[in-house]
């Protein structure tokens, strides 16, 4: 049992890592989609689109790993969460369909470019919002009986989940805007810088609002955050968030190109750590822990061997692909 416990925690961290990778990597893709209508048709939009065309597919694969990994490592949680948030998952998937095909279609059919630009934008917004609402739905807890979802199909819809939905949309917009500061030039870059400032303010407000609301949900969140001596550790999260936010505003006002994106990533990492503190060791708050949901040891070991070998390779060639397309994208694609 001793080994099994450790493997389950390791798997919880691997899934969390996959979800975080997805959130930040597809986060900036989706953020660009959300902000897309505010860029001028032509050079500005083309630059924005070109800056993610070679990488969006790889970024989205982390979502498949998050979903597939959850299925493999925590089958019970996969079944319960996906049933509880059914309409949200369907909406997200359909949003991603529109977003994904728009990359190719808008170039193939210039006459209907406006239509596919809108599909790109609306699809990105729906996917981001659905992901945010799903986060809220998990945080506020779902009704579980006999190891199965026992609630209705609209239980997820609450003011809190709408708040997290809005928060994720704004947060993704921040990632997208800061990515564009790094990758595009000219009027597009200046526009992205203005957007990033507003998105940063909005993201901080959203983080504060969600943080303030979370301890008042029905669970033990309050105790996790504020009991001694844990508060000495948990208090570092808001403290670091304040420091990162300060630096982000300074860099946005200065002329830095890469720093704002990296600081936005740090902001997301802190928010993610905060969620981890709230949830751990539950995967569905108050009803299913990671140990309840875990796959048997044989499944965990088999996958861990593969993950330990393959994950570094994936990170290496993903890094290489980003390196190939480094620098400003320019107006003529990557040439």
């Amino acid at each position: 049992m001793g080994i099994n416990v450790d493997l389950t925690v390791i798997w919880a961290f691997i899934i969390a890592f996959a979800v975080f990778m997805y959130v930040v990597m597809d986060g900036f893709d989706l953020g660009i989609g959300i902000l897309f209508p505010s860029f001028k048709v032509g050079e500005e939009r083309d630059q924005a689109m070109n800056s993610i065309a070679p990488v969006w597919d790889g970024n989205e694969t982390w979502l498949v790993l998050g979903g597939g990994g959850l299925f493999a490592a925590f089958p019970l949680a996969y079944g319960v969460i996906l049933t509880a948030t059914y309409p949200l998952i369907i909406a997200m998937l359909l949003g991603l369909v529109f977003r994904g095909v728009a990359f190719e279609f808008r170039w193939r059919d210039p006459r209907h470019r406006a239509l596919w630009d809108m599909a790109f934008s609306v699809g990105s917004f729906i996917a981001a919002f659905a992901q945010g609402v799903t986060l809220g739905a998990i945080l506020q807890g779902v009704q579980v009986e006999n190891q199965a979802y026992a609630g209705g199909w609209l239980d997820w819809l609450t003011p809190f989940s709408l708040l997290t939905g809005a928060g994720v949309v704004i947060g993704y917009a921040l990632l997208g805007a800061t990515w564009l500061i790094w990758k595009v030039e000219g009027t597009a870059e200046a526009h992205a810088r203005r957007l990033a400032l507003w998105a940063a303010i909005g993201t901080l407000f959203a983080m504060a609002a969600v943080s303030a609301a979370t301890p008042f949900l029905q669970f033990e969140y309050w105790k996790r955050w504020f009991d001694m001596p844990g508060v000495l550790a948990t208090a570092q999260v808001p403290l670091l968030t304040a420091i990162v936010a300060f630096l982000l505003f300074r860099k946005l006002r200065g002329g830095a190109t890469a720093a704002p994106f990296l600081l936005a990533l740090a902001l997301f990492a802190l928010g993610f750590a905060g969620l981890g503190i709230s949830l751990f060791p539950y995967i569905v708050p108050d009803s299913i822990t990671i140990w309840d949901a875990a796959a048997p040891e044989r499944s965990q070991v088999f996958m861990l061997i593969g993950t330990a070998i393959i994950m570094p390779i994936i990170l290496a060639y993903t890094g290489w692909a980003y390196w190939v397309f480094r620098g400003k994208v320019g107006t003529h694609g990557y040439h």
Binding site: P54, F71, A72, P75, I90, P296, F302
Partner: protein, 467 residues
């Protein structure tokens, strides 16, 4: 609105719909990725620009097909949890890890190198670019390996234990799970099907342009390569399909009974029913056209070998016969039509008329989409033939679905149908549009070059305008 349907039926329709749509794209992209690898390899080896032109021509089509495969595939990875949560909870410990391996070894490989393959030629040089193309092709194959292993395990489950709470747990050896009895046959049969599907699409495009101008060198090259594939691979596929059928007879006899239309047992030689109308109510084939004892000959290699019929299977464990009976005949019929076209092309080649025989080219154009129909028909045969189980002989479909309300499943089904037809309809139209345009010398690269950017005149316009 959905009261007349139960959630289970709607969930099955939804899964069948989304997976059928999805299957079309990998069936094409697995073969096309390998074709692109061959084209680029030939270009690097021979230095002849015609191969680079063809590579650039087909990579644009590949990009669209691949994007549609990706977005429809992501839906699949969540369908298990949304609509089949009980199945996921029970079978997850066994098939979940296989799917995780698919993501780790295949999806990241494809996606990671796709960007370089599509946009990176001038950035990384020829050698590395070819390596990226190979990685994408390898990724599509590895993906097929894992997902077909999962699919085969659901058909012929081995290497598992059942826990006290009714979950499937992995046994001591993962090899027994991965290489379950039907997997090697299914893998070979399906991957060859993907290659054939692509060959017939490439052949049809080549033929289409030969019909317009039989001196078109690019069209000639495409058509010739595709017809070699048809002539060589179609007979191999018929043989592989036969082996797969014998394997099915051993492990899932009820499926073969439904394919053959054998409602009754035949103690001394079963007839091969070529055509007929399955009559489920009376449990017989009406208007059957049959060859006496031929089915025993094919399945048992003995004219008088006894063959059991569906009368030996309890009614509530029988798969639905009419669907399987028809889908099987469609698949086999297309297989032999492919063989026929392959032989015709050999004959034409012998008489040196491969490039100026309009009848042959028209037939090739007509056969262009046949691979997709065969692939879907074959898939229906094997999956419907698995019913009424999700895990054959172990877990009933009726006990696998999520505790969802019918309106939720019905509404999402309608949304999927509308979105898929609109989006993938548009994508297919764009692909056909690209295919309609001939490949040309100095074929432009796949690249989202801004059409309106100053100083850049779109190259395709110049080339097609000059024709």
């Amino acid at each position: 609105m959905f009261d007349a349907f139960d959630a289970l039926l709607l969930a099955r329709i939804q899964f069948g719909f989304t997976v059928s749509f999805h299957f079309i794209f990998p069936a094409f992209s697995i073969g096309l990725a390998s074709y692109l690898m061959v084209l680029e390899g030939l270009w690097l080896k021979t230095g002849r620009d015609i191969y680079l032109d063809l590579f650039r021509y087909w990579v644009k089509i590949f990009a669209i097909a691949f994007a549609m495969g990706v977005v429809s595939g992501i839906v699949m990875s969540y369908q298990f949890g949304t609509n089949w949560s009980v199945f996921s909870t029970k079978a997850g410990p066994v098939i979940g890890p296989l799917m995780a391996y698919e993501v780790l070894t295949a999806f990241f490989l494809e996606a990671g190198f796709l960007g370089v393959m599509l946009f990176g030629m001038s950035k990384v040089g020829k050698g590395l670019h070819f390596a990226a193309t190979c990685m994408v092709a390898l990724g599509t194959f590895i993906s097929a390996f894992w997902i077909l292993s999962v699919n085969s395990w659901m058909q012929t489950p081995t290497g598992f234990e059942i826990s006290p709470d009714g979950r499937f747990l992995p046994g001591p050896s993962w090899l027994a799970i991965i290489f379950n009895p039907s997997f090697p046959y299914r893998l070979v049969h399906t991957v060859i099907a993907a290659y054939l599907t692509t060959a017939f699409v490439v052949g049809a495009v080549g033929a289409w342009h030969l019909l317009r101008d039989c001196r078109n060198l690019h069209a000639r090259k495409m058509f010739s390569m595709a017809m070699w594939m048809a002539a060589i691979v179609a007979p191999v596929q018929i043989f592989a399909g036969d082996m797969h059928g014998l394997n099915t007879l051993e492990h899932q006899p009820a499926k073969v009974m439904a394919m053959e239309g054998h409602y009754d047992s035949h103690p001394d030689g079963a007839p091969l029913i070529l055509f007929g109308i399955p009559n489920s109510a009376e449990k017989r084939i009406d208007y059957a056209v049959e060859i006496p004892k031929a089915s025993s000959l094919i399945l048992k290699h003995d004219l008088d070998a006894p063959l059991a019929g569906l009368d030996t299977i309890p009614d509530d464990r029988e798969p639905p016969v009419p669907v399987i009976f028809w889908s099987f005949r469609v698949m086999v019929g297309i297989g032999f039509a492919m063989l026929g076209l392959g032989l015709w092309s050999l004959f034409a080649r012998m008489r040196k008329r491969l490039y100026d025989w309009p009848g042959l080219h028209r037939a090739a154009v007509l056969m262009g989409p046949s691979g997709f129909v065969a692939v879907i028909a074959g898939w229906i045969t094997t999956e419907v033939g698995r019913q009424p189980y999700t895990v054959y002989g172990e877990l009933l479909t009726a006990q696998s679905s999520s505790p969802l309300a019918a309106p939720a499943v019905g509404a999402s089904l309608i949304a999927f149908v509308i979105v898929y037809f609109a989006v993938f309809g548009a994508g297919t139209w764009y692909i056909l549009h690209l295919m309609h345009r001939p490949a040309v010398p100095h074929e432009p690269e796949h690249e989202p070059v801004p059409v309106r950017a100053a100083g850049i005149t779109p190259a395709p316009a110049i080339v097609t305008g000059a024709e």
